[in-house]
Each structure stands twice: as C-alpha cells, then as structure tokens.
Amino acid sequence: MSLSASQLWLIPALPLLAAAIGALTPRGGRKLAAGAAILALAGAFLLSCGALVGALADPAQHLVHNFSWFDLGAGTVRLGFLLDPLTALMCVMVTFVGLLIFIFSTGYMQEDANFTRFFCFLSLFAAAMLGLLVANSLLLLFICWELVGVASYLLIGFWFHKPEAAAAAKKAFITTRIGDLGLLLGMLWLYDATGSLLFYDAGQGVLENAALATLAGQVTVGGLAVSTAIGLLIFCGAVGKSGQFPLHVWLPDAMEGPTPVSALIHAATMVAAGVFLIARVYPLMAADQALVAVPVHALSVVAFIGAITALLGAVIAVAQNDLKRILAFSTVSQLGYMMLALGVGSWVAAIFHLLTHAFFKALLFLGAGSVIHAAHHEQDIRQLGGLRGPMKITFITFAIGTMALAGVPFLFSGFWSKEAILHAAHGWSVSHLPFYLALVAVVLTAFYMTRLVMQAFFGRPRSHAAEHAHENRVAMTGPLVLLAICAVLLGFLGTPYWPWLQRTLDPTFKAEAGGAGLMVLSIVLVAFGLGIGWAIYGRHVRATATAPDPLAVRAPGLWAALGDRLGFDAFYAATVFKLNAGAAAFADALDRHVVDGAIRLLVRLGEFAGVVHRETDEDLLNGGFDAASRGLRAGGNSYSKVQTGDAHGYLRAVALGFVALVLLVMLGGGR
C-alpha cells in the first residue's frame, strides 16, 4: 500500500482529530483520550509507512499536490503537500518515536489530574509537526511551525501552577518567536521576489531552478545575493526553533515540562523542525554557492553557528547537575552537529544524524523520565545514585542511549551518523575551524555522558528517593526497549559501506572512501572522553549528595561559569530583556498617555514651579502659575478624553472618518 501526495493530509489529520477528541473529552475519559491519541498516531505511522513506500518508488521525484487556498487581489495563495523521501522518512520517524512517547506517557502521567488535556496537547503537537513535514508551501509550513510553537508552549507550561514552568513556557515561546520573525520576513521577501511560496510546482516553485537562478542573480544590501539574505532570514527561524546559539537559552529551561514532553520536543519534533526546515530549503540555501564575489555564503553561517553551538552545548553540559538539563544541553550540542552538517553541504548527513539522534535522545529522555518517575521526581544527579540494581531495564537501555550519543564505535547508530558529519566537515573547503570545534565537542560529549551515568546509576543511593526507586511498569519500559533496539540498528542504514539512507535521500550521493584515518581519530577521541570521565567520576563515585564535584575542586571559577551556563541567561536578562521591557514600557506609555502623560508632566512642572515661587514671590507669580497649571491640567484632561470608553465619541469618530473617506474618494477623483 502506498500513499500518494494528495492523500498526505491524512497523516496530520489523524492526530488532529485525536486532539479534538481529547479536547472534548471530560476529565474522567482518560482511556478515551489516550486511546484516541495512540490509535491516531499509530494510524499516522502506518500511513507514513505507506508514504515511504510511495516515495521510495521514485526517490528522485518530488511528488506534489497543490491547491489554491484563497484569492488575494490579483494573486492566488496556494498551498500543497509534498511527498519525497525526506518527508516520508521524517514522518515515519516522528510517528514512531511519538507513538512510543505517547505510550510511555500513559504510564508517566498516570497520576496527573489533567491526563486528557495532556494527550490533547500531545496530539496537537504531533499534528502540527506532521503538517510541517508534509507541507509543500513555506506558508503552510510556517502555519504548522507556529502551531508547533503554540503546542510546545502549552506543553512546557503544562504544570503552569509551577512558576518556573510558566516562565519556561513563556521563555520558549518568546525566544523562538524572535527567530520566527526572521522566518516571517524571509517568507515575505521570498513571496515578493518570486510570487510563490510553493517549494515544488512543476518548475514554478521556489526551490526549482528558475526561481533559484533569479534569486541568486540579484544583489541586495552589502553585496549579498537575495537568496543568501532570504536563506539567512529563514535560518533565523531554524536557530530559534532548533535552539542554536545565540537563541539556545530556552531549550534547557523547557525541561520544566513533563518528561515525555521533553522527549518529544528534544528528540522527535520541535527541535528537529529547524534542521528539517534548512534541509527542506537546502536548494535555496545552497543557491549562492556558485557565486564567488559575495561576502558571505548562507551555508557558511550555518556551519559556523552549528559548530559553535555544538561546542557550547557540550561545554555547558559538563557542569550541570540536573539530569534533564544535561540531556537538554547535549541536545543543543547535537543540533549544532546537524547544523554543521547542513552548513558544510552534507544535508543527508544532517538528516541521518537527526534520525539517529531522534531515537537515542528519545531513549535517553524517556530513560530519564523513568528514573525521575521512580525516584519521586528527583532530578538532581547528586541526589541519585545506585539505580543500576533496582532499575535494570532502564539502566541497560540508558547505557545504550549513552553509548549511541557518545559515539561508541561500530555497534551504535550515533557513531555512524556522527562519523558522517565529521567526514563532511573535514572535507569542507572553506575552513577547518568547525571541524576542530566538532572534535572537541566529541570528547566532551563522551565525558559528560560518562559523568551522568556514573553519578546516576553507580555508587550508593544518596537520597531517600533513590533508595526506594524501583522499576517501572511495562508501559514505560516497553518503549525504552524498542527505542534501544532502534538506537542500535538504525546506524546500519547509513554506514559508509552501505549508504542506503544517503542514496535514498539524495540520489546523486556518492560514497567517498578514504575516511578510515578520520574514523580512527574519532574512535580515539571518544575513548579519551570516556576514559577521562571514568577516571574522574567512575573510580571514586561521590559519596554524599553535598560533596563538591571533583571538577569544581580543581577549577572553581570555570565550574561556576559553566554551571551558570556561561552567563547567557544573565546576559540576556541584562540586555535583551531589559531592552524588550523598556521597549514594551515605552510602547505602553506611548499607548496610554500619548499626549496626556506629557501634559501631565508639564502640569507637574508647573505646579512645582508654582510652589517654588510661592516661597519666594507669593503675590506676583503664584496666581500666574496656578492659572497656567490649571490650563495645562484642563488641556491634559481634554486630551485624555480621547480614550475614555465613551462609545458616543467612538461612534462619532467613525462617522466623521467615514465622511472624510468619502470626501477623499469623491474629491480625489476616485470615480
């Protein structure tokens, strides 16, 4: 059974339906809400498999189904669905991982009073993400993109009674919104420049040669090609959504949501959206590659941002103590890898890593969720410890995930995908700096993951909660096992010796030999990272929860800086937030007291001056200033009348405005 492009809408429609059901289900209908969500996603998974079959029939083809949405003046706004291997693979991944997370959630959220609401939001999230994947129009993609944002806001703030969760939700929403502004601008510019927002449209789409040639051929401010400028604006959206430097700050805070949400956001859906977006518009990003005279290529920016993010995330992750926060920073780092791969021109490697990462990161988060659930919501690794015994399945699967993330050679999927990225970065002609940054990140990744596992699972329990931890129900361990199997097996789809995935995604892909030296280097680095980790944290597992970290003893200043996440949040709080708050306050003031405030100020000044003068020259000036004050006050009051909630005034204004408009049209020769 294969699915054609015109039936693609079914994939997001199913979870959307489940969301509607969940929204209409009363609180007691837990089974209905969860069942609908899981069934819908399972259905979507089957449909996605069908889509994959359909896409693999001719991988080089972009199957589209376009239709017009509404007429806008002379033009028609058209939307569409796109079926190609990228879409299909992503759909399969999202639905599969999502399905496991949904199942896991039934166990994790068992005690929550708002169980049905949770599944409603989860389904909405999945629907939005799937809609984003199947879109053949930047506009449709943007709509779903924003829906993803909304759903993530709802989910991160799911426990909105916790102030941190509410703040984190707001932070995630607003931070990504900054990037989305860029995306919106890029989208508008693109529409202005090409008159279309469809990706593929029988030669008329924006990702097809005609449009790309036009875009790359024009030059705009600062010598940039238009395609570069648009690409960078679109990249802004990806930076926000995928938590890239400098907009990565929301991602670790998003851990305030329930853990399945973290898994969903950090593994399968939200953060993948940014990488997917860049991969989707890759032809546009790469349109300026052939130009020589331009000051900067869009992809170079992507590569550097990615490399910086990869290193930054890894560095900060080293000094975190919150279980989920470490994983969050590792996600930031891994997303940096993907961006790096995109930037250096190997978008297939990026998608490969995206897929493998989706599985092992989901595994890690769900493992973390399992630990947290078992340990009565204790997330601090200093408080944990010794969980290896009571939680065997969780420990084994978590260890598999760790090894996949760290890139332990040959058996684990992370190794192969990371290898592909390093290989591509090494081959980048522009600069080798990102490659070296990535290598450092490889070491650090192995190191902090070792630290995490050692502290959480080895040694003796360091708190009451950890002592009484026990293995969870099968609804929670089952998905872990499945994900662990995938985390191992998935890597074999894209080894250099059998690059099935690469060939499917990009039929022009050629496997390059001669990466053996590089592979050895990376194996050595991983081993080095693991070794240091073991040396510092494995040999002497911390004894008590309050004992200082070994690294903190050696380099307290650096440790504090890292623990503070290199001061990004404080920096933003001091600059961006202040600026924003200032601007908001300014707008508020402008809005509230356009003239009134100014005049009131004058009145105050007048009054003050009057007081001063009464002291010195009561008889002469007092009366004059009083009169002036009164006059000003009356002026202020009369101006404030403009906005008093007086419906008559508004109606009068409307009527007079109408008169003015008609006069303008009639006298202005409108006829």
């Binding site: 909630g645 007086d646 008559h648 009527a655």
Partner: protein
Amino acid sequence: MTYSPLHLCLLFSSALFCIGLIGALARSNTILVLLGVELMLNAANLNFIAFWRYGPPTAPGTGVIFVIFAIAVAAAEAAVGLALVIAVYRHHRSIRLQDANQLKG
C-alpha cells in the same frame, strides 16, 4: 437630471441611516443607542432590497436572501445587546452609556 426610483430608495435609506446615527449619537440611554444602531442596520437592508429591485440583474434573490440573514443576525444582536443592557444596569444601576465606560467592574 431626473432621478430614478433607485435614487429615491437610496436617499430614503441614507436618511434613515442618518436618523439612526444621530439618535445613537445624541442619546445617552443605552437602549435608545441600540435602537439607533438597529435603525442603521435596517437602512442597510433597505439598500439591499432597493438594489435587488432596481439594480443590475444578479443571481435571483441575492438581495432578499441577504436581507433575511441580516434580519436574523439583527434579531440575535438585539437579544444579546438588550441582555447586556440589563446586565450592565444590574451592575451600575444605570443605563446611561457614559456610565459604562470601563471594562473593570
């Protein structure tokens, strides 16, 4: 220049509209303001019928159907509007429009 019936109909509706407008503007009683607005709406309906009757030929009954829907919506509007007036009255003990000038209650 001679005026067709359509002109007269339109002048009629314009005058009615303006009477409604003046009423809504001049009176402070919320019910009367609402009634003025209702008159303005009726004036618009008059136009639909006038154009249906004298205007260029369109799909049969477009104007009539429009007016039917407009009347239905106006009925809904009147019901909700007057319910609001009663609610406001209960709150402020007044139905002067000027007294209901803040959202805060």
